[in-house]
C-alpha cells in the first residue's frame, strides 16, 4: 500500500457541512442531528478542532450508491421524499414508525453518504491518516429497505469505494449498541471485507440478529465476527470481550484500513439500549481502536457516528473524546463555559460540565455484574471457537491472504 505516503503523521480531517446538522427524519424524531453541531462546537470552543481540518463532503459517484442499494429502492426513497404516492412504500420500509416519509429526506440521506465517502476518500488518497464523519454510521439500511432510522448505508458505500476504487482490504468495526446488520448483510460473502460487531444481544435489542454463529458465507466465510453481549454489560466486561476477539480478528485479516462505526448508545444513559458503559469506558475503547489501527492498518482509520439517543449529555462528549483520540489531543477536565453559553436556551436540558463523569456512579450489584461478565466471556469464546480454525487456514495459505 502506497497511499499513505502523503499523509503526515497525526494528520486528521473532520467532515462537516451546515446541511448535515439538519434532521434527516424530522425535528421530533429520536435520531437527533443536533448531536453534530454540539460535538463540533464543543471541540471548537475547547480549541481542539482547527478550521483547516474541516472538510466539506464531496459529491460521490452515483454508481457507488447503486453497488449497495437496488435502483428501485433508491427511486422509491426519492419519490416518497417528493410526496408522490407510493403503493409499495411499506415493502421498502418507508412510512413506518422508524422511517417516516419526510420531505427532502433523500437529499439529506445522500449528503450523509457523501460525508462518509469523503472521509474514506481523504484517508485512501493519503491526505490524512484519520478522518471522521460523525453524521454517518447508518448501519441498518439494507439493500432494498430502510430500517432502524437508516435510509442509505453510507458505511457500505464507503467500503465499496475503499475496496473497488483503491483495492484496499477493509476491516469494519461496529461498537454501536445495535448489531451492524446492514453492513454485515452487504459483505458477508466477501473475502476482502471483515465486519466485526460488538452489540447488545439480539435476544433483547433491535435488530434481533448478530449472534455468534453468524461468521460469513462462501468466499466471506470467517470475515464476519459477532460478539453479542448481555443487557447490563459494564466497562470491564465490554473491554474484556473486545480484547479477546478484536485484535485476533484484525491480526488474522490484516486490513489496509479500519472503518469504525462509533455509535455512542452503549453508554448507560442511552434510552434505547441497555448496556452500561461509562464515558471512561468509551474512551478506553477509542484508545484501543487507535492502537489497533497503528498496529494493523498503518494508522489508517475512518470514523463515523451512529446511534446515540442521549444527545445532550452523552453523545457530544463521547465523540469529542473520540476526535481527541484520533488527533492526539485531550479534552480539558472542565468543559469550556463559552460552549454552554452558546447553547443556553436552545436545547431542553443542561450540557455536561466535565470531561469525565463523577467516578461514583451509585450502588452496583457485583453479583449481577459478575454473572453478566461470565456469560459475555462464554459468548466471546464461542465466537472465537467458530472462527479461529478458519483464520488458521488463512495463515497457512500460500499468499498469507484471506480468500478473495
Amino acid at each position: 500500500m502506497s497511499t499513505s505516503g502523503g499523509a503526515a503523521a497525526g494528520s486528521v480531517r473532520f467532515v462537516s457541512a451546515p446541511e448535515l446538522d439538519e434532521p434527516m427524519l424530522g425535528a421530533d424524531h429520536p435520531f437527533k442531528a443536533v448531536r453534530l453541531p454540539l460535538t463540533r462546537t464543543l471541540l471548537e470552543h475547547a480549541g481542539l478542532l482547527d478550521p483547516t481540518e474541516i472538510v466539506a463532503p464531496e459529491r460521490i459517484d452515483p454508481r457507488l450508491l447503486y453497488r449497495v442499494h437496488d435502483a428501485d429502492y433508491v427511486e422509491a426513497v426519492k419519490l416518497a421524499a417528493r410526496g408522490d404516492p407510493l403503493d409499495d412504500a411499506w415493502t421498502y420500509g418507508l412510512g413506518t414508525a422508524d422511517n417516516p416519509i419526510v420531505p427532502r429526506m433523500d437529499v439529506a440521506a445522500l449528503r450523509i453518504v457523501d460525508a462518509t465517502v469523503t472521509a474514506a476518500a481523504v484517508v485512501a488518497r493519503g491526505e490524512a491518516l484519520r478522518a471522521a464523519s460523525f453524521a454517518g454510521g447508518l448501519h441498518h439500511a439494507q439493500r432494498a429497505r430502510a430500517s432502524g432510522f437508516c435510509l442509505f448505508n453510507d458505511l457500505a458505500v464507503a467500503i465499496e469505494l475503499l475496496t473497488s476504487r483503491y483495492g484496499l482490504r477493509v476491516a469494519y468495526l461496529d461498537i454501536d449498541a445495535h448489531h451492524g446488520d446492514g453492513v454485515q448483510a452487504a459483505f458477508e460473502e466477501r473475502g476482502d471485507v471483515l465486519t466485526i460487531s460488538l452489540h447488545e444481544s439480539g435476544r433483547f435489542l433491535f435488530p434481533g440478529t448478530g449472534f455468534e454463529d453468524e461468521i460469513g458465507r462462501g468466499a466471506g466465510l470467517g470475515t464476519c465476527v459477532n460478539v453479542p453481549v448481555d443487557p447490563g454489560t459494564d466497562d470491564a466486561s465490554y473491554l474484556e470481550v473486545f480484547d479477546l476477539v478484536v485484535p485476533s480478528a484484525l491480526a488474522a485479516f490484516r486490513p489496509d484500513v479500519i472503518l469504525l462505526q462509533a455509535g455512542a448508545d452503549a453508554h448507560r444513559f442511552d434510552p434505547l439500549a441497555h448496556l452500561e458503559l461509562s464515558i471512561a469506558g468509551l474512551i478506553a475503547v477509542y484508545e484501543r481502536v487507535m492502537a489497533l489501527a497503528d498496529r494493523f492498518s498503518a494508522g489508517r482509520l475512518v470514523v463515523t457516528g451512529g446511534g446515540g439517543y442521549d444527545p445532550y449529555r452523552t453523545v457530544p462528549r463521547a465523540w469529542a473524546h473520540l476526535w481527541c483520540e484520533m488527533a492526539g489531543r485531550r479534552l480539558p477536565e472542565t468543559l469550556p463555559a463559552s460552549w454552554h453559553a452558546a447553547w443556553r436556551g436552545r436545547i431542553p436540558t443542561e450540557l455536561p460540565t466535565t470531561a469525565l463523569e463523577p467516578e461514583d456512579a451509585g450502588p452496583t450489584d457485583d453479583a449481577r455484574r459478575a454473572r453478566i461478565a461470565s456469560h459475555n466471556r462464554a459468548v466471546a469464546h464461542r465466537t472465537l471457537a467458530a472462527l479461529t480454525p478458519i483464520w488458521a487456514g488463512w495463515r497457512r495459505s500460500a499468499h498469507h491472504d484471506a480468500p478473495l
Binding site: A97, H140, H178, F206, P207, G208, T209, P271, L272
Partner: protein, 212 residues
C-alpha cells in the same frame, strides 16, 4: 421431521443395526414388519438400547447378545406422531414417555421420524422473524381481549408485529414476547405504560437525576 427415514426389519441382528446407525448418523430407528396389511411399525430402537446390549446396565437383558435379532430389545408399544400433530403435542408426548424420537405415521404408513432436536429447531425458528425487529414483552390479564388490547395499541402506533410467543402463563396473567419492526422499543414501552399496560421488557432506567 425427517422424511428420509431408515426403517429396519425386526430380525436384523443387533450388530448390523449398530453398524447401520453409525453409517446413517441417526440415533433412532423404527422397526417395521411386513404383514398382510402392508408395512407396520412394531417397535423403536435407540442408540441407548443398542449400547446396553452386553453391558452391566440394570435394564440390559443378560440373555441377549449382539448376534440376536433387534426385536428382542426394541421398545413397544410404539409412541407415534401424525404429520398434522401440533409441534407442542409432539413435544409433550416426547416428555411424557421419555423417548427421544417419534415415528410419524399417516394411515398406518411410516412417513418420517421426528426427534427432540427437530422440535427444538422448529421452536427456535419462531424466535425471530426474517426481518429486523425489537423485543417487547408484555403481561396481560388472563381473560378475553387481554392480548387484543396490546395489539390494538400497537396498530395505533403504526407498528407491524413480526412474531408473538407466550413466555409465561398462570391463572391471572399471560406474558407475551412480541417482536416489532421498530428500533425504538423504548418509545413503544413508554407509550404502552402510559396507556396502563404492564411492560416487562424493555425496562426503563431513569437517568434524569444522575450526576453527569
Amino acid at each position: 421431521m425427517t422424511s428420509n427415514v431408515a426403517a429396519i426389519g425386526p430380525d436384523m441382528p443387533i450388530r448390523d443395526v449398530t453398524t447401520l446407525m453409525e453409517l446413517r448418523r441417526f440415533r433412532h430407528f423404527p422397526i417395521v414388519e411386513d404383514g398382510s396389511g402392508g408395512a407396520r411399525v412394531v417397535g423403536m430402537v435407540s442408540d441407548r438400547d443398542l449400547r446396553a446390549v452386553g453391558s452391566p446396565h440394570p435394564s440390559a437383558r443378560p440373555d441377549v447378545s449382539v448376534f440376536d435379532p433387534v426385536r428382542l430389545i426394541m421398545s413397544t408399544p410404539v409412541i407415534t406422531a401424525h404429520p398434522d400433530d401440533a409441534i407442542e403435542d409432539a413435544a409433550r408426548r416426547l416428555r411424557r414417555h421419555r423417548v427421544g424420537a417419534l415415528p410419524v405415521i399417516e394411515d398406518d404408513r411410516l412417513v418420517g421420524i421426528v426427534s427432540a432436536v427437530d422440535l427444538i429447531e422448529a421452536l427456535a425458528g419462531q424466535r425471530a422473524g426474517h426481518q429486523p425487529s425489537s423485543l417487547l414483552e408484555v403481561e396481560v390479564p388472563n381473560r378475553p381481549g387481554g392480548l387484543l388490547g396490546v395489539l390494538g395499541a400497537l396498530a395505533r402506533l403504526d407498528l407491524n408485529v413480526a412474531s408473538v410467543n407466550t413466555t409465561r402463563s398462570d391463572a391471572d396473567a399471560v406474558a407475551f414476547a412480541i417482536r416489532l419492526d421498530t428500533i425504538d422499543a423504548a418509545g413503544v414501552a413508554r407509550a404502552l405504560r402510559d396507556d396502563g399496560f404492564t411492560v416487562l421488557w424493555p425496562v426503563t432506567v431513569d437517568t434524569a437525576g444522575v450526576p453527569t
